[in-house]
């Protein structure tokens, strides 16, 4: 516990020091990144210890009404602290290279201040044991990330993204305040919660409040705006761990609500299925690499929701085996996605850094000039697409394995959704990797691209093998999650998790055989080709021996059959300037797929609301003395009401 408090202190102090260090951008960068990285390294120790079970506490009186400064680490907290510290530490190292490598711009002090406060906010969110403290930390996390999103606020689309994020996050916060008010009419300490409302209502409030942060459709609208706008190491942290805070909140709330009725699981599966399919289709239609990754994050939190749904249904129907598999799969996916998506955003940042563009249709052939970024991005893509032997496969395996064992409509819906999503996710990542890193550059701007500096390379080189190790370690890891799962299902879980690790061990065996075979066949192939003529020529294009880079399939053309098939959902807009005349000169073609929910639900809704509130403008007349009078009148009325 002491180490965690030291880490928190270090985060706050180094962030503030970086902000004050106005003279020297170099020093600000060093202090901010160094403080964050050191704090994260320190914090990993109590997180690992906490995962084993037991609870470490810290309590301090706090003069805020209803509040108390109580922090604790239990297995659930430790489970979320671990990826938080791991990814934030690596992102800090990466950020040092990312922000430090651009001299002449404004001082990196402010972004480091907000970054370190964001990390500190998230740490307090998962350790807080008092509602006031929790909400305060939640707000710190939201605001710090808002200022990070709007870091490049000279660009109008960034300001727009920040605004969307601010509105969405406070919509969620409003639900959370209501949730905690209903949970703790007597005491706002987590330990003394006595729900004053039907559990169903509380569940729905939590689902909306925390779902906004986790990015469930239709509350996901801020994600595809905010993620591309933020600097890449911030996107990695936001996507990898910050949206998981929503999952953490949901899980923590479930531990207060008692046994779940069937419809909770059904609702989560329904949301997970709808949201996952929606997001994976939109990911497929995006032309912007970071927007694509943001939609993929929505898809992956939906997979987590599906796992939780299967778990809740299993709990209700009295099949603990299914429940434990569902929860374990969802939990494992939290880690998988934290590392995998963190890696992908950092890789996308390296691409952006090297080429200055996120448009996939302009990129291509980067695997030659950026070998490390390309190889690590490939690992991340395969892991997030759920391919063995990387960790993404194992978490989806656990969820599906649980669903298969429960012959019912709910699990069937989860299976259909997961099966469709996994095929589409593979298409998304083949498309993303293929159009950015393979083939030839489609645009002159990418020439001269190269791998980033050491500070940005190191996190990539650490995260990619971590995904393989995490996958291969699952037979040991899953039984070790027993304390966390037991906290969620209030049932002994060790036996079921041990049983689940048996098939996982065979998958690992199969994966090891797979890798051995790859080595064997590769060796055989090399032996066969040794001493033979191995020539090189241009790509075979059916006799037309002058292929140009512009003839390649682009990211848009790759996705076209699927986007056409799902056209009614996607509503991709095409603007074409068709060739005219005998000697056409300039032609153009562009597609754009704006978010359907944003365009068709939220935009009209907000337009309506703002129209209805137009009358209120009359109150905003700018005459100060009238404002003062109205304030005084309000106070008098309140005073009279209080006295009467």
């Amino acid at each position: 516990m002491t180490l965690l408090l030291v880490a928190l202190g270090l985060l706050v102090a180094s962030g503030t020091a970086a902000l004050l260090c106005r003279r020297s951008p170099r020093a600000a960068n060093l202090i901010g990144a160094g403080g964050a990285a050191a704090a994260c390294a320190l914090g990993l120790i109590p997180a690992v210890v906490g995962l084993g079970g037991g609870e470490a506490k810290f309590d301090l009186a706090w003069p805020v009404p209803g509040g108390s400064l109580s922090l604790a680490i239990d297995p659930l907290t430790a489970f979320f602290l671990l990826p938080l510290f791991a990814l934030c530490g690596l992102a800090a190292v990466y950020g040092a290279g990312y922000l430090g490598g651009r001299p002449g711009r404004r001082s990196p002090g402010a972004p480091w201040f907000f970054f370190n406060w964001l990390v500190a906010g998230m740490v307090v969110v998962v350790t807080a044991r008092n509602a006031v403290l929790f909400l305060l930390a939640w707000e710190v996390m939201s605001l710090a990330s808002y200022f990070l999103v709007t870091h490049e606020d000279e660009r109008p689309e960034v300001r727009e993204a920040g605004w969307t994020y601010l509105v969405a996050t406070h919509f969620g916060n409003a639900c959370l305040i209501a949730l905690f008010a209903l949970l703790g009419p007597r005491s706002l300490d987590f330990a003394d919660f006595a729900p004053a409302a039907p559990a169903g209502l509380l569940f729905v409030l939590a689902l909306i409040g925390f779902g906004t942060k986790a990015g469930f459709v239709p509350l996901h609208v801020w994600l595809p705006e905010a993620h591309p706008a933020a600097p890449s190491h911030v996107s990695a942290v936001m996507s990898g761990v910050m949206i998981k805070m929503g999952i953490y909140g949901l899980l923590r709330t479930l531990t207060w609500l008692g046994p779940p009725p069937l419809w909770w699981g059904g609702l989560l599966i329904g949301i997970g299925a709808a949201s996952g399919l929606f997001a994976v289709l939109f990911a497929l239609a995006q032309g912007d690499l970071k927007r694509l990754l943001a939609y993929s994050s929505v898809e992956n939190t939906s997979i987590i929701a599906l796992g939780l749904g299967v778990g809740l249904v299993g709990l209700h129907t009295g099949t603990p085996g299914v429940a434990i598999l569902g929860f374990a799969g969802a939990l494992l996916h939290v880690w998988t996605h934290a590392l995998g998506k963190g890696l992908l955003f950092l890789g996308a940042g390296a691409v952006l850094h090297a080429t200055g563009t996120r448009e996939m249709d302009r990129l291509g052939g980067l695997s030659r000039s950026m070998p490390l970024t390309s190889a690590t991005f490939l690992v991340g893509a395969a892991a997030v697409a759920g391919l063995p032997p990387l960790s993404g496969f194992f978490s989806e395996f656990l969820i599906l394995y649980g669903a298969v064992q429960h012959a019912g409509l709910h699990s069937l819906a989860a299976m259909v959704a997961l099966a469709l999503m996994s095929g589409l996710a593979a298409a998304v990542f083949v498309r993303a990797f293929g159009s950015v890193f393979l083939g030839a550059a489609r645009d002159g701007t990418v020439r001269g691209a190269h791998d980033p500096g050491a500070a940005m390379r190191a996190p990539l080189a650490i995260l990619a093998p971590a995904l393989l190790v995490l996958g291969l370690a699952t037979p040991v890891l899953v039984p070790a999650l027993a304390p966390v799962v037991e906290q969620l299902v209030s049932l002994p879980a060790q036996r079921d998790l041990d049983a689940a690790s048996a098939p996982l061990a065979v998958v690992v065996l199969g994966s090891v055989v797979l890798m051995a075979l790859v080595a064997l066949i590769a060796g055989g192939r090399r032996l066969l080709l040794a001493g033979r003529t191995v020539g090189s020529a241009v790509t075979w294009d059916c006799g037309y021996a002058h292929p140009t880079a512009r003839m390649q399939y682009t990211a848009s053309s790759f996705a076209q059959p699927l986007t056409a098939l799902f056209g009614p959902v996607l509503r991709t807009r095409e603007t074409a300037d068709a060739p005219r005349g005998l000697f056409p000169d300039a032609v153009s073609f562009a597609t754009r797929t704006p978010d359907a929910v944003r365009e068709r639900v939220w935009r009209p809704l907000f337009a309506h609301v703002s129209g209805a509130l137009h009358a209120m403008h009359r109150l905003q007349h700018g005459r100060l003395h009238l404002y003062v009078i109205s304030i005084a009148l309000t106070l008098v009325v309140l005073l009279l009401w209080r006295l009467s």
Partner: protein
């Protein structure tokens, strides 16, 4: 007879399957056709050649066939054959099986995109589309069998397949058979989804993705494709044939015969049907998914 006999049969006999299909097609066309063992000769010839690589390609292009074949060999070790358990049988192995098919597809598509050829990009794009639609049909079909037989592994589902299983669940098993047959045709790029003969037409997807591969690489790809046909076929045959009712030796022989009959059926289908229009293929695959779903609903009761 242990499960290794099935694996051995897969590794040795797989290239025979395209040979049988070609002979059937030749028979319908009134030709004598290539020898049954022609695919083996082709493999032997390709393995003896050198290679030419496109200047656009990177290490991924060379790794694609290697990883693809390795994944298919592991998948062969998961598929039961002749009513005995597979060497690597475990609860939930069909999910791993689907994952391995996914790995092969993933690396094949990447190797295709690595060439920068518009043809191969087109093939990869179509492969991605059809695979995404075939996956639910495949997984749901096998889940239906799992719910019916109570087995959670491929070996548990197919190894216990007897006349009693069939008479107890004729409708769902028949539905799954049809659904998996469609998946089999789509995944192996056969008519009515794809025409394996027309590798320069704009209509096809699998052959065009490997347009730039040659020599030993192409041999690896063709062998992996044959293995894929064998393992997916053995699932269809395993569900269709209640081999558990036979003695082990006979069950094995019956399964081999079943594989050959399956190939003859594929040959007949290819001789009698035209390839579907590309935009029709998703409907076929979604239809297969619906059949699997129907089988599951019947299983639910």
């Amino acid at each position: 007879m242990s499960g290794y006999a099935g694996l051995f049969a897969a590794l040795v006999l797989a290239p025979l399957l395209p040979g049988v299909i070609n002979r059937t097609k030749s028979f319908f066309a009134g030709r004598r056709g290539p020898p049954l063992l022609q695919p083996y000769f082709d493999l032997a010839k390709l393995l003896r050649k050198g290679a030419v690589y496109s200047t656009t390609t990177t290490w991924l292009f060379r790794a694609g066939p290697v990883v693809g074949l390795a994944a298919m060999i592991v998948a062969s070790a998961l598929a039961p054959f002749g009513g005995v358990s597979a060497p690597l049988a475990f609860a939930g192995d069909f999910l791993f099986f689907a994952g391995l098919l996914g790995v092969t597809r993933f690396v094949t598509m990447l190797a295709a995109l690595d060439t920068g050829s518009s043809f191969e990009g087109m093939g990869a794009s179509r492969e991605a589309q059809f695979a995404a639609l075939a996956e639910p049909a495949f997984l749901l079909g096998l889940t239906a069998v799992a719910w019916k037989t109570g087995g959670l592994s491929l070996s548990g589902m197919l190894g216990t397949n007897s006349f009693a299983t069939w008479s107890g669940a004729t409708a769902p098993l028949a539905l799954v058979c049809v659904s998996l047959l469609v998946v089999f045709l789509a995944e192996n790029a056969r008519i009515p989804v794809d025409d394996p003969n027309t590798h320069l037409e704009l209509t096809m997807f699998h052959e065009v993705m490997v347009l730039d591969h040659g020599g030993p690489d192409l041999a690896l790809i063709q062998y992996a494709a044959a293995l894929k046909m064998w393992v997916l076929g053995s699932l269809v045959v395993g569900i269709a044939l209640p081999v558990r009712s036979l003695a082990h030796g006979w069950a094995f022989a019956a399964s081999v015969a079943g594989m050959l009959v399956l190939c003859v059926i594929v040959g007949v289908v290819e001789s009698c049907l035209a390839r579907l229009r590309l935009t029709r293929v998703p409907q076929l695959l979604l239809g297969a998914g619906v059949l699997s779903l129907l089988a599951l609903f019947i299983g639910l009761k």
